[in-house]
């Protein structure tokens, strides 16, 4: 569970920013990197987001607003970096990976 910050368009951020208007507590983004989180929109229960074509989406809705392929690539790179760091730490402790 972590705090996610939302702007007026319900776009997510892992940190508070100048355009932050509210925050939510959610486990949906546990383990996700900042770039992945920032590509999502979180519309809380009781609120509504209107897409530019006029279609309305009531919360609670969690959906990517950036092309998912980009978010997936960022998350995979993040996880690979973590694996590299873990392997290096294990090697320091004398554990062969």
């Amino acid at each position: 569970m972590r705090t996610i910050y939302l702007n007026a368009e319900f776009k997510c951020s892992p940190t508070q920013r100048a355009d932050t208007v509210k925050s939510v507590e959610t486990a949906v983004f546990d383990g996700k990197c900042a770039e992945y989180i920032e590509g999502y929109r979180f519309v809380p229960d009781g609120e509504t987001w209107v897409r530019e074509d006029g279609v309305e989406f009531a919360g609670e809705m969690i959906a990517p607003w950036k092309p998912y392929a980009e978010l997936d690539a960022a998350q995979r790179a993040y996880e690979q970096q973590l694996l590299t760091e873990y392997a290096a730490a294990l090697e320091v402790m004398g554990v062969k990976v």
């Binding site: 229960d45 897409r51 009531a58 959906a63």
Partner: protein, 253 residues
């Protein structure tokens, strides 16, 4: 791929639209341009509420022929004739592949913007796609006019029950999932979801927790990959309350 526009037939000077094919959305279209997203050249096209078995002149269907299904409750209505003579409500589009009608996404340029024709996966007892269930929670009943999602128990573990519609779908063609409810009662600890997942049991790409509105929508415009449309209940351990949802229509566009 270059667009292919079917010639307006004799007597068609009063028609107020055109049907074009191709894999690239047309730029600078005229009002009421209907674009069928296909790599196969379009032959004859026809509007019909029921699946055509022959061409309009009675001859056999030919590979490439297009059928644009008309209906009553749709998201698209336009004037087919120049002097507002006939209004058509468009539902789905299909193309003949030589032996069957296959679904093709389509859009119409209406009032200065593109609007996608919806593809109805389920409506009031009728599935237009394959479907399957997954999970150990139970509680999904396929009724004569709706799909019921119900849980009143007190689970001792984290359970779910999903129905998957249509198998793996290429979401890059769609922007919206729309679910119409016949009725709804819910417990916040037992949400009923509309979700797009990387498997038939997940909701990891996008999800919508259904609330008390008769029409529920999920934005999928950012999902440029294949995934599964799953509808169902996720119940946390020892959750209380009752969720009882009746779905009567599921469409994507």
């Amino acid at each position: 791929m270059a667009t292919v526009e079917r010639a307006i037939p004799v007597g068609g000077a009063s028609l107020n639209f055109s049907v074009v094919g191709g894999t690239v959305q047309p730029t600078n279209p005229k009002e009421n341009t209907i674009w069928v997203n296909t790599a196969t050249a379009i032959g004859e096209w026809q509007f019909a509420a029921a699946e055509p078995v022959v061409r309009a002149d009675g001859s056999a269907l030919v590979t490439g022929d297009v059928w644009i299904k008309t209906g009553v409750d749709t998201n698209v209505e336009f004037n087919a004739l120049r002097k507002n003579g006939i209004k058509l409500k468009l539902v789905n589009s299909y193309q003949w592949d030589g032996s069957a009608w296959t679904t093709k996404t389509a859009k119409i340029y209406l009032n200065g913007k593109w609007t996608g024709l919806s593809f109805v996966l389920y409506e009031k007892g009728t599935f237009s796609v394959d479907y399957s269930q997954s999970g150990s929670l139970g509680g999904i009943t396929i009724g004569s006019d709706s799909i019921r999602f119900c849980n009143t128990g007190y689970p001792v573990d984290n359970h779910y029950q999903y129905i998957n519609l249509g198998g793996e779908i290429d979401w890059s063609q769609y922007s919206t999932v729309k679910v119409t409810l016949k009725s709804y009662a819910y417990s916040s600890s037992k949400p009923c979801y509309i979700a797009i997942g990387t498997s038939k049991t997940s909701r990891d790409l996008a999800s919508k927790s259904m609330g008390s509105y008769s029409v529920q929508t999920l934005d999928v415009s950012g999902i440029n990959r294949r995934g599964y449309l799953n509808v169902g209940i996720q119940v946390a351990v020892q959750a209380t309350g009752t969720t009882d949802v009746y779905v009567e229509r599921v469409e994507i566009y």
